[in-house]
Structures are given as C-alpha cells and as structure tokens.
C-alpha cells in the first residue's frame, strides 16, 4: 500500500468525466415535472413591505405558483438556525425570504415557480411589491454608534457578539 499511495502523484478517479464534460451536476438533471424558480429581490437596503401583489404573475401562462416570505412563515417554516452560537450572541430571526421587512439590497421577497426558466424570470418582473423605504446604515463603524438603527426588531443594538476584546 505504501508504494501505491505514498510518495507518488495520484490521479483522481473522478477527473476523466469532469474534464470531458460528462459530470452530472444538479443543474444537469431533468426530472418528470421539473419546474424552475426565479427570485424577486429587494432594490432597497431597508424597507417595510407594505404589500406584495401576485395576481399578474399568477395569470402569466406557464406560472405554477408564487410564494412570499409571509406565505412561508404561515406554512410553518421557522427561522434559519445559527450553526455555531457563541455565549451571549444575539440571534435575530433570519428567514430564507424576507418577512414584512427587507434588510439588504437583493434580499429575496418572493419566488416564482414556472414550467421553464424564461417564463419564471418573465413572471418575477410581474410581481408588484410596495415598499415603505426606511433609513439604512451601510457603514460598520456607524452601525455601532449608540442610537444607530438596529437591523432587527429583536435587538436594541447592532452589536451581535463580542469575541475577545476590542
């Protein structure tokens, strides 16, 4: 065994299929009834979601469903857990899609499911989201100043955790 595996360059068994384009990644699979998702994302750093109107998107031919963060919570999806909580660390709720409020540009506010990817993208543009834009803090040092806006209603300051000493 020592002479086979140690002190020699090993060729990987999986490489031939990857260098010839014959790997099978998730995106390469075609399954019966396969549908495609397109995300509707926030253009604002901080805003309250006043309303999300799905009707036009749902009427678009080929669209199967439209879901919002609120739909997700109503169907029982809980906040994403943190894999490694430090002692005293604050854990504001964090959902895969925004619920009532967006807290960064690009946060997902809705998902459109359709029969093909082009239709899903088309319909994502038909989802109407009404925002009430709120002030945003986009600077780390300013975010730590007293009275800076807290990103979450669950905590009173933006400091998540102190690890070691400043």
């Amino acid at each position: 065994m020592a002479t086979r595996y140690f002190g020699v360059a090993m060729k990987r068994r999986e490489d031939p299929r990857f260098i010839t384009g014959r790997g099978t990644y998730v995106d390469d699979l075609t399954l019966p009834g396969l549908a495609y998702a397109a995300m509707v994302r926030s253009p604002h750093a901080h805003a309250r979601i006043r309303a999300i109107r799905k009707e036009k998107a749902l009427q678009h031919p080929g669209v199967i469903a439209v879901f919002t963060g609120r739909d997700m919570v109503d169907s029982g999806v809980k906040s994403l857990p943190c894999g490694w909580l430090l002692p005293g660390m604050k854990l504001p709720p964090h959902y895969p899609m925004a619920v009532d409020k967006v807290r960064h540009v690009g946060e997902i506010v809705a998902v459109v499911i359709a029969e093909d990817r082009y239709t899903a993208e088309d319909a994502a543009r038909l989802v109407e989201v009404e925002y009430e834009v709120l002030p945003a803090v986009a600077d780390g040092a300013k975010a730590l100043q007293p009275g800076a806006l807290a990103p979450s209603c669950a905590s009173s300051s933006n400091l998540c955790s102190m690890y070691g000493s400043l």
């Binding site: 031939p16 260098i19 010839t20 384009g21 790997g23 099978t24 995106d27």
Partner: protein, 158 residues
Amino acid sequence: MSTVKLTVNGKAVSADVEDRTLLVHLLRDHLGLTGTHVGCDTSQCGACVVHIDGRAVKSCTTLAVQASGSSVTTIEGLAKGDELHPMQAAFRDNHGLQCGYCTPGMIMSAVDIVHRYGGKLDEATVRHELEGNICRCTGYHNIVRAVRYAAERLRVQA
C-alpha cells in the same frame, strides 16, 4: 421563434428556439450537452465558455441565433475519441480541478489562450487571460500550472 442551424462538435444541428434563447440553453436544454455550465447567470464566471469558429465566447451571453451558421465546439467535442486534448490531460496531470464545475470553461478558455499566444505563456499572462474564469474550490495555482504545461506540450507538437 427562429430556426437555428449550426455545427456543434462536427455535427450539423437544427433547432427551433425563441429569439431570446441563449446559446448555453440551446446546448444544454435542446441538445443535451450539459458539460457547458451556467455558474453565475451574470457573465462573470466563465463556466459556460465554448468556441465559436475557434474563438472562446461565454455562451451565457450569446444568443443562439447569433451562432447560426457557425461552428461551435464544446467541452464534449474537444477530445478526439478516447484521446484527450493535451489541455484536458494537463488539467488531470496537474490536479487543476476539484469539484470540476468551472473546468469545462477553464479548459475551453485555456485552449483559446494557447492558440492566441502560440504556446509562449508566462504565469502573469495566464493569470491575466483567465480573469474571466472563476474557480471557487482551490484557487488558481494548479490551473495556471496546467495551462502552462499544456502550452509547452502543444508548442513542442507544433
């Protein structure tokens, strides 16, 4: 809808596609050539690079109709039967891949780079030329090594 006629990996193909269909989706969804990947949807990552008439292009940023009448080579068409292209062999020999997702685009870009520079490639040139191809596994050390290794072998062959 448009009828697109082109040559893909040496075979004449014809497909009816929406005018806005991207070349990468013609290859993957209509022709089943899933070796060409979509990594980012924003033209940054280069996992979708193929050759159109011998030039490397990002197929996620090319309409299928733009490739009409041309000759397209994908990663599936690079080897000659069971004989790997020297660039494919170089990636394997130099451990230039881990998960393999970026590899088809890396290899197609690298072949074009070697053609354009005639095989004389220093490290800085390879790194600069591969700016449009992103690997998220390992960094670029062995990828650059593989490209220079293949360039040297192709230069000796030529």
